[in-house]
Symmetry: C2
Subunit: 123 residues, 2 copies
DNA sequence: CCGTATCCGAGGTGATACTG
DNA sequence: CAGTATCACCTCGGATACGG
């Protein structure tokens, strides 16, 4: 008998929503950086490179909102803020890393498929 | 000695790019639908529900370009077009499904984290 | 039935400047 | 150092109409 994939609409939407959430421009980069341990704001900024201050702030706020990172403020002068993955964040890292590994392993196949397609297409 | 996570910039970007690609609004839904077997255009359209014709076309073109689906045209009247996952597409489904399962399993934790955050935030 | 063309609004992204 | 504020762009997504 067939496995009977459910494809319950609600579930698929939820999955899609999380994928979109994780698929935004900087989220995975930030999360994978934090996978090595807590980091400060500018530390992250430079480690990633190319991200604007605004987008790093936004990305971190959203990650904090979703319970993936904690934000710790040290009320010193100058101020210091540490970001660290929560348990949920580290769990998220597992399937994301799996997808990342797959991506690294198959990026060439994707690129050559893309080249083939573009070569066949009419300009 | 430490595992020495590489975090090579190029790799991270590539991963991020694939995540963004997969994270667009309809891609995972389409791919998971096709996971059950080949489908026609309107069959997909109705199975998904809520997707516009334009976006389904666009999504399928991009998936075809990246080598995740094949497009087969039957030159009948009225025309009939089948879409089917390629080997690469079915392989992609594996880590994506893993992430999807994680999402389903943890959606409640994310939502309650969100509620907590929003309750604490100032309006 | 399947796809393209066009227009439009909404939101994501970034550059810059300013504050505690 | 770690943000917020503002503005301007630009892509995405949807509605609609038309074509093969």
């Amino acid at each position: 008998m067939k496995p009977r994939h459910p494809h319950r609409s609600e579930d698929c939407r939820a999955v899609s929503a999380v994928l979109q959430r994780v698929g935004d421009k900087w989220t995975v980069l930030v999360v994978s950086m934090l996978g090595d341990g807590p980091m400060r704001f500018n530390e992250l900024r430079h480690a990633i490179g190319g991200i604007s201050q605004k987008m790093l702030t936004t990305t971190l706020r959203n990650l904090e909102r979703d319970g993936f990172v904690t934000r710790t403020v040290f009320p010193t002068i100058p101020p210091r803020v540490d970001y660290e993955l929560t348990g949920l964040g580290r769990e998220l890292l597992v399937p994301v890393t799996a997808l990342g590994d797959w991506a690294r392993a198959n990026i060439d196949r994707i690129n050559s498929a893309r080249d083939r397609f573009d070569a066949t297409a009419q300009p």
